[in-house]
Symmetry: C2
Subunit: 392 residues, 2 copies
């Protein structure tokens, strides 16, 4: 059929990008480019973000502006930077990881491939932690962190990539109460989908981790990451980190050597466009209206074709559906590719690309048109049925 | 007099920023945000810059697009990243610097404080190299690079910060022919002021280093950095690196882990605004018209007041004048501060803030108004005369 359908990446579609085009008009040549405290956003100065941008994105992720640093355009870059600085310079006075014989990391699976690529690039030993319906296996985490060489954990706590799971209150509280042997252990809390709901009436709620850590007497335990890439324009938006004041102070000091600062004009553009949190919420409803039918289409087809043959998640937000086909994921993905349907690489949701059960297929329904998506989902189901038949 | 005059940083003034305001209109809500090869700049994808942006900035720095990577908004961040990656992961297969007992670095002085802050933050041992009228002392450099622990050198080869010196053809060729003992030695060629002339009829010409390195059989020897911060908006422009294909390949591979990419919309905005190299040149003439009278004002006052008492440079471009007052720089800067005139910190143009002759004062004439500048320069001259009198 000469098809070329792509369900591989969590990439917004054109209609979603069009939603933010009015943002291109808010800072025109006659606009005042001073921010609220009178600083000219067009010039050097201000490390870590203009106040109104920290406040707006802080409200979005339920953290005060004083605990926020704006950090360029990519939250992956912020996470990489945290690991790089810990590796080179240490964390609040601890030994830099490059001076240690071994560093280990906990990885709830299935998870996000770009997280795993970062830790892998530093030779950090990654350990799989099963991800349940209410979050990762906390018993196992509490056991592993007794090892001082375990320095961190990757988490996508809300509408998780790729299962769509949101961590329960009890899981968040257990995270906040962790007492790792390593003083430089940090929870890497990638809050990528905080306002990325699919339904207005069915939303997941996530307990705010930084205040929970404070309550538990562990204020420095967590780095919380956020990004507006899937709110406005992927790669041309604003990303950052939220954490305790001690962490902020250290990061800001490192930042002062690392860069002359980030793009304040773009920060201002985002603030002027959204105005306030209500503006962001209204905007996200429009995204949901585009995404929801796509998710529902895939789920409907799976129900029609795969009931009893496979299992899949039905998330209330985020960008992914996780489909489980134990023993045949790789074969199904290859077969789909031959038919012109590109899926995320087999094994990608696991450290070292090693899916121990050869089971997980990550479905990203956002980018294709609904017609292409229907066709792609049907082909995927057919590929699964063929592989199941071949197995028997 | 209750003054607050600032000649400390190389910061464009408001009138210079206003020159780029029309750029805010080129990508409005009805603009086509696809780049020339059809990629939607609003979405994920494309590492290292869109083609037309690499081509335009490549032309500006006389390097083909294939040797260019666009890298966010700050060239300091690109330089930091190169050192960080060398420290963490090595250079084209060499031992990562974090595994070595000692790393040394050559620093032509006076030089740029933010360069020195980066190397200092990694505990790299910095060695002063005298900067002459035609560039750094090449005899000394050729001697030092016989030491395998010497891994790099900071250079601002054109309209140098802070002396305004441009390296001669012979110096550039000697750089290109260097045979360092360390295979991972790199020349950090911060081409910050390539098109930042003050005069149309009196311009410095700098030999292109990458092609010279190729001719000399040393293609991988240099990283050349560039930025449009002092062309459009500081911190909201486009920066990057130019180097050999082997270096590009390595950097791009690291980039694929470090970030989801940089702000392509802003790259496109810059290209659409300037259109071509002629557009950049015409724009830079307008900057020169604002800056030139400020430099000339300072030089005129120095001539009137300091002839026979001090020496200073008269650059044809860039952002700085270096004033030499052996033995009293620190005292003069303190005295000026008391009078409300802020200058760059004493010692800043030297590694470890240690000016061995207590001599160099970096003057940044760009930011103040011409009236404020005149007053500040007079106060500076007065402070020098007082200190000289106190000495005798």
């Amino acid at each position: 059929m000469g098809l070329s359908l792509n369900m591989a990446r969590g990439k917004p579609c054109k209609e979603q990008l069009d939603l933010s085009m009015p943002m291109m008009d808010v800072l025109n040549s006659s606009a005042d480019l001073n921010c609220e405290d009178g600083i000219d956003c067009r010039n050097y100065g201000v490390l870590g973000g203009i106040e109104e941008c920290k406040r707006l994105l802080g409200e979005m992720i339920e953290v005060p502006a004083k605990n926020i640093l704006i950090f360029g355009n990519s939250s992956i870059a912020v996470m990489y930077d945290r690991i790089a600085n810990s590796y080179m310079h240490g964390v609040l006075g601890s030994t830099p990881w490059c001076k240690l014989d071994e560093v280990k990391w906990l990885c709830p699976v299935p998870g996000y491939d770009r997280h795993f690529s970062i830790t892998e690039s530093f030779g950090i030993k990654m350990i799989n932690i099963p991800l349940h319906e209410d979050g990762p296996d906390m018993d196992l985490i509490e056991e592993y962190i007794k090892d001082e060489s375990v320095k961190g954990i990757w988490c996508v706590p809300k509408y998780s990539n790729p299962t769509g799971v949101t961590y329960s209150d009890e899981v968040v509280r257990r995270f906040a109460r962790l007492k790792p042997a390593a003083k430089d252990f940090r929870i890497y809390w990638d809050n990528a989908y905080s306002v990325h709901h699919l339904y207005e009436d069915k939303q997941d709620y996530l307990l705010e981790i930084i205040s929970e850590c404070e309550k538990a007497g562990n204020p420095d335990l967590v780095y919380k990451f956020f990004s507006a890439s899937k709110i406005t324009f992927p790669g041309s938006a604003v990303a950052g980190i939220a954490c305790s004041e001690a962490n902020i102070k250290e990061i800001k000091k490192q930042m002062s050597v690392m860069t002359i600062g980030y793009d304040k004009v773009n920060e201002l553009r985002h603030v002027r466009f959204f105005k306030d949190l209500e503006g962001i919420k209204a905007h996200m409803k429009k995204h949901a209206d585009i995404l929801r039918p796509k998710f529902e289409m895939v789920e409907k087809i799976f129900e029609e074709e795969l009931t009893g043959l496979a299992s899949w998640t039905t998330p209330r937000g985020g960008y992914f559906i996780a489909l489980e086909v134990p023993g045949i994921a790789k074969q199904v993905i290859t077969r789909c590719k031959q038919a012109g349907v590109t899926l995320t690489d087999a094994g990608a949701p696991y450290p070292y690309h090693n899916d121990p059960l050869n089971s997980t297929i990550r479905i990203a329904p956002s980018y294709p048109s609904i017609e292409d998506l229907e066709l792609a989902a049907r082909i995927l189901c057919l590929a699964i049925k063929i592989e199941l038949a071949l197995q028997n």
